[in-house]
Symmetry: C3
Subunit: 397 residues, 3 copies
C-alpha cells in the first residue's frame, strides 16, 4: 500500500463493527474480517508514524498494565502502543497495592478504571486461571460502565493468558503477511509449529496454541510437532482442526521434528511444557504442595532432557522449502552456546534470521495499538483520515 | 448544573483566592468557600471530561507521588488526576533512591521538584510524623522557590496523613452532596461515623478523624461511635465540636453502635486503631523495640476480638432513617465471609450499596485534580472557560 | 542573554552538526563547540520554560531509563528532561524483565527501542563495564536502525558510567559559567577537585574524573588533590593534562588538601574510592569471591579512616580566593553531624552554600534535554524558533 487511503480502502471492505467497545481475548473468537482489520490498522499506524504524523487519539487517559509474570518485550510493546495513541501507562503492581486484603476482582477492576481506556493483562502461569481472570475483569468493568460508575468501559487486551498469546501471534502473522507480500500468499504454505528442547521448564503453552489456532485460519498447512507427552490443550487442537477445514488449509500433529520441517515455508521451534503437567502444577500450587511442585519440576526437567535432539539445526533448516524457510520465535530464544549449552536453536540459525526475528517483534506495538483503536473508535477510517489531515508532527524537525 | 457556565457562576460566588499557590493538608485549615470551590471545580472537570473536552492545563510537568504505605485506589486516583491535567506521574520509590544516605528532607524535596507541579504524599503510619513530614516538604520547596532554585512551587496534596485523609473525605462528601441534591440538603442530616470490627489491626485514624472534622462543617448531626478505648485524637474531637457549634450541626460521642445508627441518614462503619495504641506503637518503632511491637499487636488483636459485635448488619441498617441510610466506606472493606470470616459489614449490606460505594470512590480523582488546579490557576473560572472554548477532544472519535 | 534570538545567534556561531543522530558518552569525545552547544541550548530551554512556552518537540515517543545503581536526582533529572521534550519515561527494571534468561544486550536493546527516542543509562559500579555496556547498546540499536528494524535510532545519554558522569559535570560547569558571568571568565580560575573523607566506601570515580576531564578544557587551573593511594584512572589524568595544554590552563596532582584550596575560585571536595581498589573489587565480583569483597571493604574503610582530616572546613574555605570560593558537590554530601559524624564537609560550609548547590543541581534536567535535542533535531535553532512562534503555553494560566 502506498498511501493512507489504501489502508482506509482496505478497511472499508471489512466488517468489524462489533469490535467497537469490545475486548481482545482469543483470536478464534474474532471473525476473519476482524483479524484483517487489526493487521491493516497496525500497518496504517506504522505508515503514519513513519511519515512523522502523530497518531495520538487521546489527549488524556490511562493504559493500565498488570503483569503477573516477568516481561520485557510485551511490557515495552504495551507501553509503546499506549504512548503512540496518547495514553499514559500506569502499572498495577500487586505488591504495592492493597489487593492482598481479600479485595474482590470486581472492586479492584472498577477502582483502577475511572480514567482507564485500556487494561492489558499478562497472566499465563496457571491453567484455567489467566483467561478466566481476564473475563472477570471485563465483566466487572462492563457492569461498572452499565451502572454509571465508569464513564468509559476500558477495553481489555490479553497480553498472554493460559490459552492464547494473541498479540504475539498476530504480530508473528503480520510479519509473515508482509514478508510473503500479502495475506492471500499464505494459502497452501506449510507452517511447522514445533517443540524444541530448553534447559528450563514450564514454559507457557500460549504461543504454540495461539499459532495453531490462528495460522489454520489462513489456508496454511499447519503441522504441530512435539515429542509424545507434550500435548497442548485438546480444546485448542479442536479449534485448529475446525479452522483448517473452514479455510482450506490443514492441521496435523506429528512426533517427528524432521517430518514437520520437511519443505516447510515457516518454522517456529519453541519449547513448552506438557499441558497435563501444567494442569497438575496448577493444582499443586492451589494446594500449596511445595514438595509436589519440587518433585514435578525434577520430573519435567528429566523429561525435557530426553529430547535434546529437538533442536532447530542448520541441517534441519536445509530440509525446509528451498532451504529458506522463515524462522520465527517470540523471543528470547534458548540459543545453543549463547544463552545455554543446549537449547532450542543453533546459534548459526539464529544469527542468519536475526533481522527477521527483530522485525517480527516490531509488529507487536502496532498490533496492540490497532486492537485498542478498534475497540475505542467507532469509525477508525475516519479517525485515520482526521489524523492525516491534522498532520501534527510526531517530532518537530 | 447544566452547563459549564453554571459551575463558573457558582465559583464566582466564592472567595478562594488564598488557595492559589497554596497546599492542601487538612480540611479544617480551609474556609467553607474553599471547600465548596473544590467540590464545584471537581464536578466541572467531570462535566468537561464527560463532554469529551480535554482538561489538560499542562503541556509538560511532573506530578510526584510518594507512598509510604500500600495503596491502590489513592495511587490510581492521583495518577488519574495528574493525567487529566496533563502532568506525568513520577513515583518517588524510596527503595530505589539515595534517600537512606541521611539526606535531609529539604534537599530531597528540592532535588525532585525542578519540574514538579504537584507532590502527593501518603504517610499515615506513625502518629505525629506524616503531617509533620508534609509540612517539612512544603517548607523546603517554598524556600527553594523563594530562593530562586525552583521556577515553580509544587503544590502539596495530602494523600493521607496521621491526622486527616482529605482527598477521601472530600470525595465522600461530594458523593453525599450529589446524592442528596445539593450541599444545603446536608443540614440536619445524621451521620454515624462508627468503629467496626476487623480481624486486622492498626488501621489508620485518618478517615474517622477526617469525617468528623469535615462533616460537622455542613450542619450535620455527627455521631462518633466506638467501643471504649478506641478514642481518636482529642485535638480532632475538639475541632469537630467547634465546627458543629459554628455550622448549627452537632457532634457527640457514643459507645453504642445502635445509638449511632438509629435514624441515621448516612453511616460510615469502619475499623481503626485506638489513638493511644498508635502513639505507643510509634514510640516502639522509634525505639526499635520489636518485642514491644509484637506484644502490642497481640494486645490490640485481642482487644479488637472483644468487639466482633460491632458489625454493620442488615438488622442495624433497618434502624436507620426509613431503613435507607447511605452506607459509606473508603474501601476496601472487611466483608463477612468475603474477605474474612467476621468483619466490618455483612455481605448483603455491602452488595446492596456496591454501586453507591463505587460512585463514592469515583469522586476522588476529580477532587484531587480540583485541589491541584485551585493551587495552580489564579483564575480557574477563566481556565475552565478557555478549555471549553479550545474544545480539544479528550478522545478523537 | 535577553531574548531567544540571543541563544539562537550563539548557536549559529558554533559547529555541532555531528551531534545529530549521535550519542553522549564522555565529554572529552566532544569538541569545544559541541559542549558549548549543550550549555547554550540548556539555557535556551530554561528560557522558554520560564517564559511559559512549551518545549515539547515530541508528540509521542519513549525515553527509556536503566539504573543499575540507586538514584534520586539523576532519575528525576532524566524524567524531567524527557517530559520537557514530550517523551514518556519507561523504566527498564531488570528485576521485572526476562533479561536474566541469558538474552544478549543486542536483543534487549532492540526489543525496547521500537518507539524509543532516547535511552539513559547509569552503570557506574564496575570498572571497565559501564561505559562498555553503553557502547554495546548503541552498537546494537545503530545496527538495528541500519537494518531497518528500528524506525529511529534512540540516542544514548550516559547518566554515569565508570569513567565519566557527563550530565553531572556539564551541569556543574553550567553553574560556574552562569555564576561567573560567561564561559570566557573561567580562564585562569583555580579549581580544587579534592578527595574528602566519607564513612562509606566505594563511591564512584566518575565525578572527579569527569571534572578534571572537563574543566581543564576551559583554561582553568585544575588541581586534583587526594591522599596517596586514592589515584583516579591514569587514562583520565592523561586526558586532563592534554586538555590543559590545549586550553592554556593547567593540571596538577597534589596530596595536600590545603595546597589545593589555597586561593581556589572553585572547590569540589568529594569522596571516592581508589581506582586500583575498584579494579580489584570488580574482579572479586566477577569471581563471586564474597570473602574477598568483605575483606576489601574492611581494608578500604580502614584506609578511609586514616584521612578524616580531609574535610571541607570553614577554616579551609577562608584560605580560598578572598575566602569566597564556590563550593560544588554532586549531592548528597556527607555532612558532619547531619548525615554522619565525620564527613566531607562541615555543616556550616554546606549551609552557607546550600542555595548555590541546589542551583547547580537545577541545571541537570536542562543539560540532559539539550543533549537529547542536539541528537534529535538537525537544526535546533529552527526548532527553538518554531517553539517560540507556536507559543503553546506550558501551563494554561
Amino acid at each position: 500500500m502506498k498511501t493512507l487511503q489504501d489502508y482506509i480502502d482496505a478497511l472499508n471492505a471489512l466488517d468489524f463493527k462489533k469490535m467497537y467497545e469490545g475486548d481482545f481475548f482469543l483470536t478464534w473468537e474474532k471473525t476473519d474480517d476482524e483479524l484483517k482489520a487489526v493487521w491493516i490498522l497496525a500497518d496504517a499506524l506504522r505508515y503514519l508514524r513513519e511519515h512523522n504524523i502523530s497518531t495520538k487519539i487521546f489527549e488524556s487517559g490511562l493504559g493500565i498494565s498488570l503483569f503477573r509474570d516477568n516481561s520485557t518485550r510485551t511490557r515495552f510493546s504495551f507501553a509503546s502502543a499506549c504512548n503512540l495513541l496518547g495514553l499514559e501507562v500506569q502499572d498495577l503492581d500487586e505488591k504495592k497495592s492493597q489487593i492482598a486484603h481479600g479485595e474482590t476482582v470486581r472492586e479492584t477492576a472498577n477502582m483502577i478504571s475511572f480514567m482507564a481506556d485500556v487494561i492489558g493483562i499478562r497472566d499465563d502461569m496457571y491453567i484455567g486461571k489467566g483467561n478466566t481472570y481476564m473475563h472477570d475483569v471485563v465483566d466487572a468493568v462492563s457492569q461498572g460502565h452499565d451502572d454509571g460508575i465508569l464513564e468509559q468501559k476500558p477495553t481489555l487486551v490479553n497480553l498472554q493468558c493460559d490459552i492464547d498469546h494473541p498479540t504475539q501471534c498476530m504480530a508473528d502473522t503480520a510479519h509473515i503477511i508482509n514478508s510473503l507480500g500479502g495475506i492471500d500468499n499464505l494459502k497452501g504454505k506449510k507452517v511447522a509449529m514445533t517443540w524444541a528442547y530448553s534447559p528450563s521448564y514450564g514454559k507457557p503453552l500460549s504461543v504454540p496454541q495461539g499459532v495453531v489456532g490462528l495460522m489454520t485460519r489462513l489456508g496454511m498447512d499447519v503441522v504441530l510437532a512435539h515429542p509424545e507427552g507434550y500435548e497442548i490443550m485438546p480444546d485448542v487442537e479442536a479449534v485448529a482442526k475446525k479452522n483448517a477445514a473452514a479455510s482450506g488449509g490443514s492441521f496435523r500433529v506429528t512426533h517427528d521434528m524432521a517430518d514437520a520441517f520437511k519443505d516447510a515455508d515457516v518454522v517456529y521451534p519453541k519449547s513448552w511444557a506438557p499441558f497435563a503437567a501444567m494442569e497438575k502444577r496448577t493444582k499443586l500450587y492451589g494446594d500449596g504442595d511445595q514438595a509436589g511442585i519440587d518433585a514435578l519440576e525434577q520430573e519435567l526437567l528429566a523429561q525435557n532432557a530426553q529430547h535434546k535432539d529437538w533442536c532447530c539445526t542448520e541441517k534441519l533448516m536445509k530440509t525446509t522449502k528451498d532451504g529458506k524457510a522463515m524462522y520465527l520465535h517470540c523471543l528470547p530464544a534458548d540459543i545453543n552456546d549463547v544463552s545455554c549449552k543446549d537449547g532450542e536453536v543453533e546459534a548459526a540459525v539464529f544469527d542468519n534470521h536475526r533481522d527477521s526475528l527483530y522485525k517480527e517483534a516490531s509488529y507487536k506495538p502496532y498490533v496492540i495499538a490497532a486492537m485498542i483503536m478498534l475497540a475505542k473508535c467507532q469509525h477508525p477510517q475516519d479517525t485515520l483520515k482526521a489524523l492525516e489531515e491534522q498532520a501534527v508532527p510526531r517530532k518537530i524537525k
